[in-house]
């Protein structure tokens, strides 16, 4: 979780939500959360499990870096 929060704090264009999966079963179903942590970026990118920092940033921003 901390990486997503770090990203949000570092750039005003980024917002990060920590979602307690069991409290919001509708959201968990919608994003097909079968294990945690599961990260969903802009409804498109999914990151499963806890991954190292470089990999997390790489995957989380893959839609952004395409255009740059």
């Amino acid at each position: 979780m901390s990486l997503a929060h770090e990203m949000a704090f570092a750039n005003p264009n980024i917002t990060a939500y920590a979602v307690e999966a069991t409290e919001f079963p509708d959201m968990s179903r919608r994003y097909m959360v079968n294990g945690v942590p599961k990260t969903v970026v802009n409804e498109e990118v999914e990151i499963l499990g806890a991954v190292p920092q470089d990999e997390f940033i790489e995957q989380a921003l893959q839609l952004q870096t395409k255009t740059s």
Binding site: M1, S2, L3, A4, H5, E6, M7, A8, F9, A10, N11, P12, N13, I14, T15, A16, Y17, A18, V19, E20, A21, T22, E23, F24, M27, S28, Y31, V33, V36, P37, K38, T39, V40, V41, N42, E43, Q53, D54, I57, A60, L61, Q64, T65, S68
Partner: protein, 148 residues
């Protein structure tokens, strides 16, 4: 902590099983530092504020901070709110949110987030900080967790 941090706690009286538990968890934090405050926001009565912070469910926490508190004159722990009563500094949004009761591992995440907003150095590497800083489009990250 260098900056004053406020936890905006979005809650409602009815139909919220974990709102009370969340309040109890959040109440543990202000005694730890005079730079941490909790402000309760009624999700139903103050819907505009919830919308402003992108909060669609409760319980939820949005972390904001007093940027004026970034400059603490002297080293003494004078809370910025007390230093300038009625004239709070500019409140800025960290864009860090918690949905659901921040219990268990999530409590650790919450404390980490408060320390970060309060002035702790980022754990991001210089290269990753640059990549994050270059983001020019809105990015919404949702991390699903469990209390563990």
């Amino acid at each position: 902590m260098k900056r004053a941090v406020r936890l905006l706690f979005f809650t409602q009286t009815l139909d919220c099983e974990t709102c009370m538990q969340t309040r109890q968890i959040l109440d543990e934090l202000p005694p730890l530092s005079d730079k941490i405050t909790v402000e309760e926001v009624n999700f139903v009565l103050d819907a505009d504020r919830a919308k402003e912070y992108g909060i669609e469910r409760v319980p939820a926490v949005a972390i904001v901070y007093d940027d004026a508190g970034a400059i603490v004159p002297g080293a003494a722990g004078v809370p910025s709110a007390a230093a300038a009563p009625g004239a709070p500094g500019v409140i800025k949004d960290s864009r860090i949110r918690f949905l659901g009761a921040p219990a268990g591992y999530e409590f650790i995440s919450l404390v980490q987030a408060i320390l970060l907003v309060g002035g702790r150095d980022s754990i991001l590497s210089a290269a990753n900080r640059a990549r994050v800083a270059a983001v020019a489009q809105p990015v919404r990250i949702q991390v699903f967790t469990t209390p563990g």
